[in-house]
């Protein structure tokens, strides 16, 4: 029954020239172009914080808002299509739904870009109430348009999660089976003995927490739209601050869990070793499912009025959420690589390097999430330092690795690719180090004009960003070249 339906859907989609691979490719290309552009915006911001370029503060903050919001939405898009590509091996998912999700996110991005570039909307990507309304240097329409943009991104992600969730219950019978809890609870075992593989377990966690996150985001945006429409709309600043970080933190954090799903699927191709489900995976992903949505209070440690139990619970949840990642996913990946007949390609190098970025950024995050340390790290450059380590140096590397895998890579990288890769990594490492240095020196984040030694470090950082971008250009060209020469038969490591 389902197979027949699937065929029918496939038929429609193919009719329109939209094979699943094609839609994934479209999402990938749009996303990579966007990231490339936004990375240049990041470089411009660094140059402006240094002595190399002058920007008016309102321009700087507008670019900051564009970079932050755009990057988060784009990595949601990119990791989403990458995971979807592999999930199709296990679930029947609909290509129209993916197309809709991609389109909604792209429209959301465009709306946000117009709000920022034309309207000058500039309260930072977290648009923390009441900032969008008080002392604004931009017109009201820009505020409204931006919120609608956020809503669109949310709708895109929600529909993506809903289809995956539906696919999981259809295939495995229930969400508990999607988490592979049948390995622990005999009553759940299926007659056919089918158990969800790790990449599906990850999808289950992401789909559930994703739906919760988008629900929170919708409440947030509706409250802000209410305030936008009527200045009397009552909003409690502490409540909305919690909601803002619940949404912002969790959606950014989830991209890592989506990436984990990609890693589970792709690493076995390179290491030529299988990645099987067992009890440990069920336990650890259930732990993530429960505790990831409770980590947001670590953004509010410096709000001393926040309820003490929330502060401590937030710290504990952040700690607990780090256990599955380090003990299961990253450890498991390293074990898979250890003494394997690894095929070192651009793809596999990016994946292993991305795991490294995830760990280092995670360590920095854990330090920041420790309350007595937070009071000297909060809102310093330490914060962008650590999240760039696992977003730029982690999630983005997974995306590049996926792109390379998707394009098809049969041979080991040549001299051009190797050089590009090295330039990219050197630029990345240097850029991140200057960020950490600024953080430990107490330079605040989100400042158009920083106190010393901010500008000095920003000058150095700009140099590294140039190197990074040159390397990135090379890596992307190489990937594009390979995609042209193996059109339609990717996936071969």
């Amino acid at each position: 029954m389902l197979a027949r339906q699937l065929e029918r859907t496939e038929f429609h989609a193919e009719d329109a020239g939209l094979s699943p691979r094609r839609v994934v490719g479209i999402g990938l290309v749009i996303g990579l172009i966007t990231i490339y552009g936004l990375a240049m915006v990041g470089g411009i911001m660094k140059a402006a914080q240094g002595n190399l370029l002058h920007l008016a503060p309102e321009t700087f903050y507008a670019l900051l808002t564009l970079h932050g919001a755009g990057m988060i939405a784009t990595v949601v898009l990119l990791t989403g299509v990458a995971h979807w590509y592999f999930l199709r091996e296990h679930l029947t998912l609909r290509v129209e739904v993916l197309l809709f999700a991609v389109a909604a996110i792209v429209w959301g991005l465009l709306a946000a870009a117009v709000a920022v570039l034309v309207g000058g909307f500039a309260p930072g990507w977290t648009f923390l109430y009441p900032l969008p309304f008080v002392g604004a240097t931009w017109p009201a329409w820009a505020t409204g348009l931006f919120f609608f943009g956020v809503l669109f991104v949310g709708i895109g992600f929600a529909i993506y999660c809903l289809d995956i969730l539906a696919g999981i219950v259809r295939e495995y019978g229930s969400l508990l089976n999607g988490l592979a809890l049948d390995t622990l609870i005999p009553r759940l075992r299926r007659a056919d003995g089918k158990v969800a593989p790790p990449t599906v377990i990850a999808a289950t966690m992401v789909a559930i927490d994703g739906i919760l996150t988008v629900s929170a985001g919708t409440i947030l945006v509706i409250a802000l739209l209410g305030r936008w429409a009527s200045p009397n709309f009552p909003i409690d600043p502490l409540w909305i601050k919690n909601l803002t970080y619940f949404f912002g933190h969790t959606i950014a954090n989830l991209t890592i869990y989506v990436s984990a799903g990609v890693i589970y699927a792709v690493l076995p191709h390179y290491t030529q070793r299988p990645w099987h489900t067992n009890k440990i995976y069920a336990i650890s992903w259930t732990t993530s499912l429960i505790f990831v949505p409770w980590a947001w209070p670590h953004h509010l440690y410096m709000d001393f009025v926040q309820a003490p139990w929330l502060q401590l619970f937030g710290e504990g949840s952040t700690y607990i959420a780090s256990i599955p990642a380090t003990v299961v996913t990253i450890f498991g990946a390293l074990l898979l690589v250890y003494r394997s007949p690894m095929r070192w390609r651009i793809g596999s190098t990016m994946f292993v390097a991305g795991l490294l970025g995830w760990l280092i950024g995670g360590a920095a995050a854990m330090l920041d999430a420790t309350i007595p340390f937070n009071d000297v790290l909060h809102n310093t450059l330490w914060v962008p330092a650590h999240f760039h380590t696992y977003l730029l140096g982690g999630v983005f590397l997974f995306v590049l690795g996926f792109a390379s895998h998707f394009a098809g890579e049969r041979a080991a990288p040549g001299r051009f690719a190797k050089t590009a890769e090295w330039l990219f990594f050197v630029g990345l490492g240097g850029f991140l180090l200057t960020f950490y240095a600024g953080g430990i020196e107490g330079v605040p984040r989100r400042e158009a004009v920083q106190p010393a030694p901010g500008p000095f470090l920003a000058d150095i950082a700009t140099g590294f960003v140039v190197i990074l971008l040159v390397g990135l250009t090379g890596v992307l060209l190489e990937t594009l070249w390979r995609a042209r020469h193996s059109a339609g038969q990717g996936g071969e490591a």
Binding site: L162, L165, A166, L175, A216, A223, F233
Partner: protein
């Protein structure tokens, strides 16, 4: 879900929902605190959703149109718009309107569950997840003014 075993539970749910719809307005029981009021409405969204899901499950269906997913999301947003407290304060003064609002929640809930379940067998749970989250978060302060310095 629509097995014979579940019928008593569904009956109980209907009774509870009916009470929730009718009693506060009819008896003129004063406005509950805002957070509780949100929860009460979320309960109607939830209960309606369970009924909608049960209705679809009466007869096994195939995989539905993707538009059902879209409908699920829109209904979720619609439920939330009905929860804007500005609306409560206008409506609560008139028992009939208040009752109608409660009926509205149950109806949105019903169609939300129906739409989610129509998309694919068992996917109605997505609606319940959304509604539980909505209830929990609105109850913590959606539309509530700050407590003051």
């Amino acid at each position: 879900m629509m097995t014979r075993r579940n019928v008593p539970w569904l009956g109980l749910l209907v009774v509870a929902m009916a009470a929730d719809i009718l009693v506060p307005a009819a008896l003129g029981i004063g406005d509950p605190p805002l957070g509780l009021h949100h929860l009460e409405h979320a309960f109607l969204l939830f209960g309606g959703g369970v009924l909608g899901i049960a209705y679809v499950r009466r007869s096994p269906r195939e995989w539905g149109d993707p538009l059902w997913l879209f409908a699920t999301i829109l209904l979720g947003a619609a439920g939330l718009v009905l929860m804007v407290p500005e609306l409560y304060s206008r409506v609560d003064a008139y028992p009939v309107l208040h009752t109608l609002l409660h009926v509205g929640f149950a109806v949105v809930g019903y169609f939300g569950g129906y739409a989610a379940e129509r998309y694919s067998p068992r996917s109605g749970i997505a609606w319940l997840l959304m509604v539980v989250m909505t209830g929990a978060l609105t109850a913590t302060g959606f539309g509530a003014p700050p407590p003051g310095v």
